[in-house]
């Protein structure tokens, strides 16, 4: 039966040679259950919103839940490639899962569009022509936080992140742009929920500002405890602890906190306005940056489908590289390592009615590329 289908497709291709309506099958591996499910659900919803809006029937999406486990992600990737025979993979949220899936998938000739994770290896030595990052390189938002700290006149920062590779990248990224001194540098336990000891050290350190990277529940805990401790040094962080899904759980403790992001719902362009409205209408909640990344990923893919046939890998790759779509972030281009060159904004947490959200107050870095592109040979 498989053979028959193959033959039919072959006949079709010959008959319609030159046409670009070859169907594209996308495999989305993302986190839909367990602790980190909020992020994966946002990416999925953003992605599917764009697919629905396009009305493009040549795009088929298979979605699977990786439970945030690397071995499950690898198994799903095998399944998508071996039995679903997808052309493009996308969806992974976490760097460690991306490292498990991406190198093998691209080596097998599949395209991978990253809607969230951007580990440094994949931007530098381990870059691949078929790998496109539509979100950011992991260091980007932290670099922007460092740049903002200079602008705000911070001279003595206390910095902390969890003791795992993304945490180390975060502090490296911050230090790459930050010009002042360090009052202290701490690696906390991954998944740690009590930061009393760290806050005491911050209090005793004589710092004039705090930078932290604590994604998910860790950030919620830290902010609540920081607020309660009475230490009132200014805090800067990347958007991951201030996304739409988390802010409501942090509450007042987050008000006024400065964070850096490549996206916000008030970026002034028609695509973004339409996206925010449509997302709210469709799902009844405000979109997060993850949702915007999912939305942009789908639109990038759709733009490439309109230009080239996915079976012609070289042409399709060029079409992706052109990034000829209107992004929710405004201008969006790929650098030589297929990572975004984009503006990164400074946001402040505000309250609109009953809802906590972010407002852009400035731009930290303009047309910012990552630090690893020169190591990439492809």
């Amino acid at each position: 039966m498989k053979l028959v289908t193959m033959a039919a497709v072959a006949a079709l291709t010959i008959g319609l040679s030159g046409a670009k309506a070859e169907p594209v099958k996308v495999g989305m591996i993302t986190t839909l259950s367990g602790g980190g499910a909020g992020l994966g659900i946002d990416v999925r919803d953003g992605f599917m919103l764009a697919v629905k809006q396009s009305g493009n029937e040549d795009l088929e999406v298979v979605i699977e839940d990786d439970q945030r486990k690397p071995d499950i992600a690898v198994q799903l990737a095998d399944k998508m490639i071996q039995s679903e025979k997808v052309d493009v993979l996308t969806g992974i949220i976490w760097s460690n899962l991306a490292m498990a899936v991406v190198p093998a998938a691209t080596a097998q000739g599949k395209f991978y569009l990253s809607p969230n994770a951007g580990p440094s290896v994949l931007a530098g030595k381990g870059c691949h022509p078929n790998y496109f990052n539509v979100a950011w390189q992991n260091d980007n938002l932290h670099e922007a936080a460092g740049a903002y700290a200079n602008f705000a006149g911070h001279k003595n920062s206390f910095i902390l992140a969890p003791n795992y590779p993304a945490g180390k990248d975060a502090l490296t990224g911050y230090k790459r742009f930050y010009e002042g001194d360090l009052a202290g540098e701490i690696y906390t336990k991954l998944g740690q929920t009590d930061y009393a000891a760290e806050i005491a050290q911050i209090r005793a350190s004589g710092a004039d500002s705090v930078f932290f990277f604590l994604p998910g529940g860790m950030g919620i805990s830290f902010l609540k405890q920081y607020e309660d401790s009475g230490v009132d040094l200014p805090v800067v962080g990347p958007a991951f602890s201030f996304d739409q899904g988390i802010l409501q759980a942090v509450g007042d403790a987050a008000l006024g906190v400065i964070n850096t992001s490549q996206w916000n719902k008030d970026i002034d362009n028609p695509t973004n306005k339409a996206f925010v409205d449509a997302f709210q209408a469709e799902y009844g909640r405000l979109p997060s940056l993850y949702a915007s990344q999912g939305f942009d990923t789908a639109n990038l893919l759709l733009s490439a489908m309109a230009k080239a046939d996915v079976k012609d890998a070289d042409a399709f790759r060029e079409a992706l590289k052109a990034a000829d779509f209107s992004s929710t972030r405004g201008s969006f281009t790929f650098g030589p390592n297929h990572h975004p060159i984009q503006d990164i904004y400074v946001r402040e947490v505000v309250k609109e009615g009953d809802v906590f959200t972010n407002k852009i107050i400035g731009t930290a870095l303009t047309s910012h590329a990552d630090a690893y592109w020169s190591e990439c040979n492809m």
């Binding site: 071995d71 093998a104 590779p165």
Partner: protein, 327 residues
């Protein structure tokens, strides 16, 4: 007894027939799933020697699974980046050869099992469960902060390691390799349980005093069993890493220890084929239920509950209607 033999034969038949069917139907993913089940089965057979025969409820077997995985990851990582593993006292290079990796995995897990076993066997009962859990957590947190080998991100190995005469990249050939190893391990476990050592171990579980009176040291017997058990689980870890071409600290997590234990209980404790049936059933459930609902963990949980509460002797016990031979 007879019916259990039928169940065992049927299981073996499935292990051969399903992958062959998958090759014929061009469903390579089914082969990948079967490989996963076969590897889990090996890991669980390892634990079953300590747990089923020796009564050592170890909630830390992820240590050996992870050590096997990291043995593969570290050796292959050095081979793939062309950097030596050690330059002093003499040059050690990485390798991409499976038999060599297995040897290293076995040696490292044996050493770890010897140390952990010697310390843990000072305790019994719940304390034993908990101290093995503690060792698991130690390795887990160590692996997470071991930046040289990827920390929490883990290590990706781009191409599966080689075995002389086989193309391990072909799913069915790699499955074949795992299947042969599974059969060897099964044979070993069967011989072991019938051997004088196996009988002594069984006795050390049921009546340690009597073992002592005949001049054997029950602790020593248990320690040897623990090491054998760790070695087999370590071998499975190396295979699992090769299946995924990836290792990460998840292999050391207490949930992994729990899952290996689940395979055994699901299939039937102390039965030769219990771990195999359990692993097959678990992989199948994971695959089917995951497709049914985002909340499939609820159904998995309910099913496990039913088996524990009402199914005496696991799946095999339910089918064959008998308690395990020596229960």
């Amino acid at each position: 007894m007879i019916r259990e033999t039928y169940v065992n034969a049927l299981t073996l038949l499935l292990l051969v027939a399903i992958p062959l069917w998958a090759v014929f139907m061009d469903e390579p993913f089914t082969i990948t799933l079967m490989t996963r089940a076969a590897i889990f089965a090996i890991a669980a057979i390892g634990l079953n020697i300590a747990l089923g025969i020796g009564g050592l409820v170890s909630l830390g077997h992820a240590v050996f699974f992870g050590i096997g995985g990291y043995a593969m990851g570290i050796l292959a990582h050095h081979a793939q980046t062309y950097t030596p593993l050690a330059e002093w006292p003499f040059l050690i290079d990485g390798t991409k050869s499976m038999p060599l990796i297995w040897l290293v995995a076995i040696a490292c897990s044996a050493l770890a099992a010897l140390v952990i076993g010697a310390l843990s066997l000072r305790t019994t009962g719940v304390y034993f469960i908990m101290i093995t859990l503690a060792f698991g957590q130690m390795f887990f947190f160590f692996a997470i902060s071991w930046a040289e080998y990827g920390g929490e991100d883990g290590l990706s190995i781009y191409i599966r390691n080689g075995f002389p005469g086989l193309n391990t990249l072909a799913p069915i050939q790699f499955y074949g390799l795992c299947f042969v190893l599974l059969c060897l391990v099964l044979l070993f476990a069967w011989k072991l349980s019938k051997s004088p050592f196996g009988l002594a171990l069984n006795a050390a579980r049921q009546a340690p005093m009597r073992v002592e009176t005949v001049g054997l040291d029950p602790k020593r017997v248990k320690l040897v069993a623990f090491v054998i058990s760790g070695v087999i689980t370590g071998l499975a870890g190396a295979l699992f890493a090769d299946l995924n071409r990836f290792v990460s600290p998840t292999m050391f997590s207490w949930q992994t220890s729990g899952e290996i234990m689940i395979f055994i209980i699901l299939g039937g404790v102390g039965r030769l084929f219990g771990p195999v049936v359990g692993a097959l059933a678990f992989v199948a459930l994971e695959h089917w239920l995951g497709g049914l609902s985002d909340y499939w963990h609820i159904y998995l949980g309910l099913l496990l509950l039913v088996i524990v509460l009402f199914g005496r002797g696991g799946l095999i016990g339910m089918v064959s209607g008998r308690e395990a031979v020596h229960d």
